[in-house]
Amino acid sequence: MTERVGAIEGRNVEQRLTEIGVRFDAAEMQEFRRALEDLENMRVETSKALAIDGSKSADFESTEGEQP
């Protein structure tokens, strides 16, 4: 299985970690993979917001004078 992880798309996570000098045991690697899933969610959230924002976002408005 290949993993879409930014700059190393198509290469594997262990290889990239080895390149930067990181070696994890199995438990650490499991936790790190969860962190990479969070990272992917950040990418999706950012891309989605940029796509919406291309045409003035609908998620923002200021309503003067209303009482919160």
Partner: protein
Amino acid sequence: MSQPSNSLMEAAGGGMPIREMAAALRHGDFTARQLAAATLENIERVNPRVHAFVAVAPQALADAERADSELSAGADRGPFHGIPVALKDVYDVAGMATTCQSLHRLDHLAESDSAVTARLRARGAVIIGKVATYEFAFGDPQGDQPFPAARNPWRLDRDPGGSSSGSGAAVAAGLVRVAFGTDTGGSIRCPAGWCGVVGLKPTANSISDAGVFPLSPSLDTCGPLAKSIDDASLAFWAVRNSEIATEEIDIIGSHRGQDAVPADVKGMRIGVATNYLDDHALNSESREAILAAIEILRGRGAIISHVLLPEYSTFSACAHLILLSEAFALHRDLIASDFRKYGTTLRQRLPIGAFIDDRDVANAHRLRGLLTDKVDSIFENQDALITTNALGTAGPRYAPDGVIPGEWPMRTIPYNLTGHPALAVPTGLASDGLPLSLQIVGRHCDEWTTLRVGRTLEQVLGFDRWHSPSSQFERA
């Protein structure tokens, strides 16, 4: 040997505002040396339980004596002259280690002062010591770091928040009136909120970060945690960059940095970020306290409106892509040379940045610009913005092998991304006896308006006179 005077006890116990301490020093009620010595005694007594300080400054008493000599000679450096101040252990203080709470840095010895340290000294402040942080201002208070994690003076089984954990704890414990921290995603406002003190993250780049160990340079901001709004204001103006642009001075107005902050919001247009108050993660007591604070401001003549901010998850995703990539770049060499020396949390967090590519970073910066424009547009019709800070009261201390909570219980990182000044102030005490807070955001370079709003709340709520159980116990 004579007993210390009541005023000295009050000053050294955190009960006397900086302006009053300055007057007392000039009136001869006590000397800067006496104040520094009493502060050091308090630290020695309180710190074994609170762990706010990681080191006291060996030159503190000598610096205080010099402050006394200068005052006697008529060389008055202003309100901070002779006042003890603490610095988060990421600020360089010449001759002291800047450990960043990391095994990597135990041997580091700063050769010169950070810009903030130097400016404080130029104002006559006495650097009393270094206060705790999370590892490299990015870890968690786990048990695998060089110094014990700071504890919350309101309840010692609770975390004071971070990463300026020692700064919040030191002020809340009454050990100093002001401690400087750094804020990359809320690291000033989080401990301020959880420790029941004031925390100011100023406008981006308004305080020099030279000589401060960085986490994410495009998000990092230096700023004070303080017992009161006026103390925070004085601290900010004491170290703020003087070389700001002309148009920014126009926004700030004609007041001087040493002016007392007025409790005045009459006619001020204040937007309330209603969608953040509807956040499902917001503790109901926090929400009620914020709504009560809004009513105080309305009662004082503020014009309250409803505004909607972009979703927090958008700010958070964008900011974390930037933060993680910048943090990895800074730590890349240390990761390669001695990865196992990092604590458990950073061993997980730092390598994530190696999986963020240029396209991700470019997207994040594009979105950052758009989000900044959106927040700026609010200030076309508002003078200040009220929003959430901590979602609830202080969380439990981490066990050495503790699990890291999934959701960061703060709503602070948007303004690191956009650079707007943001002030955390207490709003009350929850049913568990712990402080609640809110956040006041202002236009770029308009800290003054956020402080005015904070001062108005302070005048009614009296949080500048709160004493945490730790500080009360020690003074009893």
